[in-house]
Amino acid sequence: MSDVWLVLGGTLTGAVGPGISVLYATYGELITERAGRINLGIEGSMLMGACFGFIATVETGSVTLGIFAGMIGGSALSLILAYLVIYRNTNQLATGFALTLFGAGITAYAGRSYVDSTIGGLNPIAIPFLSEIPKFGSALFDQDILAYIAYGLGPLLFWGLHYTRTGLSLKAVGESISVAYAAGRNPYVIQIAAIAIGGALAGLGGAQLSLGFTHTWSEGMTVGRGFVAVGLVIFAMWSPLRAMVGALLFGGAIGLQLQLQTVGAPVSPFILDMLPYLIIIFVMALWSHAAARAMPEGLKGVLKATT
């Protein structure tokens, strides 16, 4: 019985850290999808962020520069998608997926001499008093700076999407390009901006992963976190606040897996490694009908799942 509590407690404490990188990628994908585009290259953008963030940190010694390098790397990759899908009318899913492989190639090539490098990276900053709250205090308030920014970004995005002119234009484009056009907006500029910002946020998530979480770089280190983010956006029904819940869920799955390994559960570690992916598929299936109703109109052509 005490084991169960140990595992549950550990899962909660372990849920926040691994979830942050996915949360950024989910925010990024959410902005892109709200503008009516889907970017499967987000996985590649995360790798770009993780790789170039790490390289810049090693070379300059500055984590801040590393974070910016990661955002630029992620954004640059997503701009290729913006050009191809908007100006060349290519299939979004195939283009995005190819972009992921392209990013994997670039980062494997660029990062190969940095595999053994070590960095100080981002360190946890304990917030006085809050981090001393028993049980979950240290889990939430003893994290690196990017985690605190991620907490703030959710409500900020929520407000931005629903209560600002820019946010409303973005949503309008996602619902109907021609209506947005008739209302005097330039839909393509908005979509390009949304894709670029989405890529930058995914890059930031990747940078958080290599600079704040693992403190190392290795080839393909995101192992599908970007694709998980695409799933989480659907689970989140395109709401930044629900995205936070989703990221916590993904982090929780990883935390649970680590805890079960620590207490020596008699299960193959590879089965535990499957948990995060299975849980994402499971929650998508659970909320799929509500998600289908909440889907931006502009995505329905691509993301349809009924026949």
């Binding site: 060349r88 283009t95 392209f102 080839e219 193959s268 490694d273 993301l303």
Partner: protein, 352 residues
């Protein structure tokens, strides 16, 4: 006597020529190779040397040609795994995972079933591989039908699950007790091995993609069912009104696609590896997906695009070996080729 053609006629011919998809694709491929050549020059290597090494190492020798053929087998099969579902409007990004499960199922038969001859063993393994891949793809279609989960995301994520699933066995129950602790299964008996062709690494798994391409081509272009599939992919509502059982087509297309990817897995373990180990595929299924899109899902075109990707991959291994370029750089070239083929394509009907 021939009359010289006017400038306008010449322009007309040129435009007609560049209208052809094959010409556009070749232009796009040339463009990608030029861009990659510039990239090679920027990182301080000689692009001409790199390309000539690539060419020599692939098409310049018997070994090179057979290696290209060996790579083409899984590329063609996993490309068909993407293209057949694409006919009915499904996007199967799960070829990689389906390949792993197919390899797993075929290995299970090879290790635990006692067929006395190769004539029984290999077909049994192929059937197991096909069923494994098909069932794995079936999960995605069930999620789509019953729970409205888009197949793109479910197939993408299931790739990671499949890779881990294979690890469970090769690190666990199926680990070779005499393998010095390496995560390999025991080596296959001779009945479970696809024989090599003419003393090369090329093996008789070659018949799988050949049959696959011919059967798919004939089925899609010469039968009523092939035409119906196109109708389902174009407009499912219209197809349904014409009395076509849409759901049945969708299920079968996805299962056959997954099955073909599973066959690719069977051919890899039985023809090349002769045991199951982690990382048997290393993105073969993803490359097949790209090959299918490069060819616009046309089965004949898939031969060409799989050949091109095989050329790049084998060339990349040669370059890695000779110390010219790490093979990871080849993923960049493959990405460039796909982007330019998609980008050079004329604006057409939105999607198929």
């Amino acid at each position: 006597m021939t009359t010289p053609i006017s400038i306008n006629q010449a322009r007309g011919i040129a435009i007609n020529l560049t209208d052809r998809p094959i010409v556009r694709s070749l232009m796009a491929i040339a463009f990608a190779f030029i861009v990659f050549g510039i990239f090679i020059a920027i990182i301080g290597r000689d692009p001409f040397e790199v390309y000539s090494k690539m060419f020599e190492g692939t098409l310049g020798s018997k070994v090179g040609i057979s290696e290209v053929g060996v790579r083409m087998i899984p590329f063609v099969l996993t490309a068909l795994a993407a293209s057949i579902p694409a006919r009915v409007g499904l996007i199967n990004v799960g070829g990689e995972g389906q390949l792993y499960i197919g390899a797993w199922a075929a290995t299970g038969v090879a290790l635990y079933m006692d067929f006395p001859t190769i004539w029984l063993m290999l077909p049994a393994m192929a059937i197991a591989g096909f069923l494994g891949g098909a069932i794995w793809a079936g999960f995605a279609i069930a999620l789509r039908h019953f729970r409205n989960v888009n197949e793109v995301i479910s197939t993408l994520l299931s790739n990671y699950v499949a890779i881990l699933f294979v690890n469970v066995f090769v690190f666990g129950a199926w680990k070779n007790p005499t393998g010095f602790g390496y995560p390999y299964t025991a080596n296959f008996e001779v009945e479970s091995i696809l024989p090599a062709i003419a003393d090369t690494r090329l093996h008789f798994g070659l018949v799988l993609p050949v049959i696959g391409i011919i059967a798919t081509y004939l089925f899609l272009s010469r039968t009523r069912w092939g035409a119906n599939m196109r109708a389902v992919g174009g407009n499912p509502d219209a197809a349904r009104r014409r009395g076509i059982p849409v759901l049945r087509y969708i299920i079968i297309a996805m299962l056959v696609g997954g099955g073909l990817a599973g066959l690719a897995g069977m051919s890899e373990v039985s023809g090349i590896q002769h045991h199951l180990r982690p990382g048997i595929s290393n993105s073969l299924g993803f490359m097949g997906f790209l090959a299918s899109w490069m060819a616009n899902h046309n089965p004949i075109g898939i031969i060409g695009t799989s050949f091109l990707i095989a050329l790049i991959v084998v060339g990349g291994d040669v370059l890695q070996f000779s110390g010219n370029l790490p093979s990871a750089a080849m993923l960049i070239l493959i990405g460039l080729v796909l982007f330019s083929i998609l980008g050079f394509r004329r604006f057409e009907r939105k999607t198929e």
